[in-house]
């Protein structure tokens, strides 16, 4: 019952968020700031995780496909497909749900408990739109960029692992990376990322906006934002995979 109540409140909040902005210039400025806060500040962790995951996927694939009937270049091929189709869009989005989602929920939640949201409301400002819409748009622009970087670094990480450990000769790895490359896979990864970015920013914004109480409740909202964003990412991952790949 409570789940339906949350879904209803979430949809009502979305309707408020998507109302026409009162001052487009200020919203544009806020989007740029949020792109910096939510996107560029996550670049470091995305880069580190992508390089190491790419390397690990390559080594594990090499050890698990050691069969005379499988060509050696299949390691590069499998690494590329794993990174593009699943690792970069989904795992990176889950990591961003933790980092960005908690930030959004705690920032907006603190504004709620310190009456800053009330201050916006009494000024006649659509506080939900002003606070959450720029974060949603910024995430939907910047997260796909992060995922493209993650794909590149993941493949590079695999290449570095191949070079360092020689589990796959570099020429075979490179051949596998280019083997039967379908640009649609990148499109699929980006579509998923955009949907996940929307979910992370809007769900976290919802929990932050509906915070009541004090510091303890801000912490609870932040935790709920991460948990629910992650659950919905996994759920929508299944739906989108079914729709876009099958």
């Amino acid at each position: 019952m409570k789940l339906f109540q949350h879904i209803g409140s979430y949809l009502l909040l979305l309707a408020r968020i998507l109302r026409k902005p009162q001052n487009a210039k200020i919203y544009r400025q806020k989007i740029i700031i949020e792109m910096d806060n939510l996107g560029l500040e996550s670049l470091g962790i995305v880069a580190i995780i992508s390089v190491f995951m790419g390397a690990v996927v390559t080594i594990q694939t090499a050890f698990n496909t050691d069969h005379p009937l499988l060509p050696i270049y299949a390691v590069g091929f499998a690494t590329r497909q794993s990174i593009i189709l699943e690792f970069s869009p989904t795992i990176i989005s889950l990591i961003l749900a933790g980092k960005v989602g908690s930030r959004i929920a705690s920032e907006i939640g603190t504004m709620r408990v310190t009456e800053q949201i009330d201050a916006l409301e009494v000024m006649g400002i659509n506080s939900a739109g002003y606070l959450i819409l720029p974060k949603i748009i910024a995430s939907m622009i910047v997260n796909p960029m992060l995922v493209v970087i993650s794909i590149f670094l993941g493949v590079l990480g695999g290449w570095m692992a191949s070079a360092a450990t020689n589990v796959v000769p570099l020429s075979h790895y490179s051949y596998g990376i280019l083997f039967e490359f379908a640009p649609y896979d990148i499109f699929y990864a980006l579509i998923k990322t955009v949907v996940f970015a929307f979910l992370i920013a809007s769900i976290s914004g919802y929990f932050g906006y509906n915070t009541r109480g004090g510091a303890l409740e801000v912490g609870h909202s932040s935790t709920k934002a991460v948990v629910f964003s992650s659950i919905y990412i996994i759920f929508f991952n299944l739906i989108l995979t079914q729709i876009l790949l099958v």
Binding site: N23, M111, E115, Q116, D118, A119, E121, M123, G124
Partner: protein, 248 residues
């Protein structure tokens, strides 16, 4: 002028406001006093539209604010300035940006320079000097209240609402803030409504005082009359402190 007609508000079974009728005149400092839990904050929130009353109406200069929706309500809200208990300054903006913020949102005709000049005028008026580029976390509680007042008056409001403006301030700073609110009320001919439980404020700046008791308007009158009401609940509140009892 603000008129309140038969305002009632409940939270589930708890009846917080039980039919309040009163009016607040322009150019006067109107105080709402009462014990904690008497319904002062709920009443103020219903006045500014942060809570919807279950029954009754609020009229701003004859316009029924309670029945308004959307843009109509936004137009009235642009004429309001609100000073919150915790100041509610935006943490991510500097002092100057906080004051400019309401101008940026709604005054598209003003140039950037005009907005900065207006912000500086408001900050000067509340005696904030050389703090324009500091963040709220870098200034004292008293300064935060002043900046919040400057932000509240930036858009030249017709109505000013203050929720416990003295809370967390030392007695001297509290008097300075009280006098400042009273001065700007007269200067800009605003209708000011202050929610407080500070008897110093009542005696210093109260032109019109209403006393809430258990969600009802128990007494109203001028500040000088409050000492001699003969009403037990009012006197219990007024003479609660030992110091005032001795003075009596």
């Amino acid at each position: 002028m603000i008129e309140v007609k038969d305002m009632k508000k409940s939270f589930e079974e708890l009846e917080v406001l039980k039919g309040i009728n009163t009016s607040f005149e322009q150019g006067k400092t109107n105080l709402i006093i009462g014990q904690s839990g008497s319904g002062k904050t709920v009443f103020l929130k219903c006045l500014v539209g942060l809570l919807e009353p279950d029954h009754g109406s609020v009229f701003f200069s004859g316009l029924n604010f309670t029945s308004m929706k959307g843009n109509e309500r936004t137009r009235v809200r642009k004429k309001m300035g609100v000073l919150f208990q915790g100041s509610a300054l935006f943490d991510s903006l500097t002092v100057e940006e906080n004051v400019i913020f309401p101008l940026e949102m709604f005054n598209k005709d003003m140039t950037r320079k005009e907005k900065i000049d207006r912000a500086n005028f408001c900050l000067d008026r509340v005696n904030i000097l050389n703090a324009n580029h500091l963040y709220p976390a870098e200034i004292s509680g008293g300064m935060k209240k002043r900046v919040a007042i400057a932000r509240a008056i930036a858009n030249s409001p017709d109505y000013l609402f203050c929720d416990e403006p003295n809370s967390g301030l030392d007695p001297q700073t509290a008097i300075v803030i009280d006098k400042l609110i009273s001065e700007i009320t007269k200067e800009f001919q605003m209708t000011t409504v202050i929610n407080t439980h500070d008897m110093n404020s009542v005696m210093e700046i109260g032109d019109h005082v209403i006393f809430l008791y258990k969600g009802k308007l128990w007494w109203e009158g001028k500040s000088e009359e409050i000492l001699t009401t003969g009403n037990k609940e009012v006197e219990d509140f007024v003479y609660a402190s030992e110091l005032v009892k001795k003075l009596k």
